[in-house]
């Protein structure tokens, strides 16, 4: 057995020994992944996982290193990038990821990515034009 294999075994038997806790946080993360477009609160997530919201906060942070709401925000920003790349408008993207205000979405998007959604979308569009152009050029060559 290599050193790394023995470390995996050690960590599994110490850090990840509580399967009940793991099932709870994995289930809640999965719930967020499938319902990020809805209004999600800590109370609702805790109710879904049949645990108290304080316990949920502690467990989620323990296993994922961030709170459920921080994870939800990350998920929404990640999905919004995909929607913007697909050509959805800022408002459509905002509502598709569960935000109610395009202004607050734009502010959050800029704070996370360094660009406004409009700038991000323009950049993606120009990159895909360059890519398509170079493919066309290669095709002609």
């Amino acid at each position: 057995m290599t050193f790394y294999e023995s470390e995996i075994k050690r960590i599994r038997s110490t850090i990840y020994a509580n399967q009940g806790q793991l099932n709870a946080v994995i289930g809640i993360r999965s719930y967020i992944n499938h319902h990020y477009d809805r209004e999600l609160s800590l109370d609702l997530l805790a109710h879904t996982g049949f645990i108290s919201k304080y316990h949920l906060l502690r467990l989620f942070k323990k296993y994922y290193g961030q709170t459920p709401m921080q994870y939800l925000t990350d998920k929404r920003i990640e999905r919004s990038k995909t929607f913007l790349k697909l050509g959805m408008t800022i408002s459509e993207t905002c509502f598709a990821i569960g935000f109610e205000s395009p202004a607050s979405f734009s502010t959050l998007f800029k704070s996370r990515t360094g660009k406004t959604p409009t700038a991000f979308q323009k950049e993606q569009f120009s990159q895909s034009q360059i890519s398509t152009g170079s493919e066309t050029l290669q095709h002609h060559i």
Partner: protein, 130 residues
């Protein structure tokens, strides 16, 4: 500061390019001749504007790099890891392409992992978040 390039030490750049593009599915981004070697980078096909992997031949030119790479390899430690949607599916795809795994898909708490040999001196870990 931004993360633009991550280096992976490789024994042979051409072998590495073939493995990382042909088997793993990365796309060549930059290939600049530098004497005997090349400034050679690849990117994820799904994220071509994302971080570049620099396939650098340090183990061939700098003895401590070779020793370090060999020690990590012998200990089974993956130098680098890549995220995938489904470890089991990727494991089966790579296995069918002849890639050798040192650790089969294994659940480890909130992640599932598997580790393969990149044929260039490294163990690479693939990870699925659960």
């Amino acid at each position: 500061m931004k993360v633009k390039i991550i280096s992976i030490p490789v024994r042979n750049q051409e072998t590495a390019l073939n493995f990382y593009t042909g088997k793993l599915g990365f796309v060549k981004k930059t290939d600049v001749p530098l004497g005997e070697d090349r400034w050679l980078t690849v990117v994820s096909k799904e994220e071509q504007d994302g971080p570049e992997l620099l396939l650098e031949p340090a183990p061939n030119h700098f003895e401590p790099a070779r020793v370090y790479q060999e020690a990590l390899f012998n200990a089974g430690i993956p130098y680098t890891q890549f995220n995938v949607e489904d470890v089991q599916q990727e494991y089966e795809r790579l296995l069918s392409l002849g890639v050798a795994f040192s650790i089969q898909p294994t659940e480890m708490g909130t992640v599932k992992i598997a580790i393969f040999d990149d044929t260039c001196g490294n163990h690479i870990q693939i990870v699925e978040m659960r």
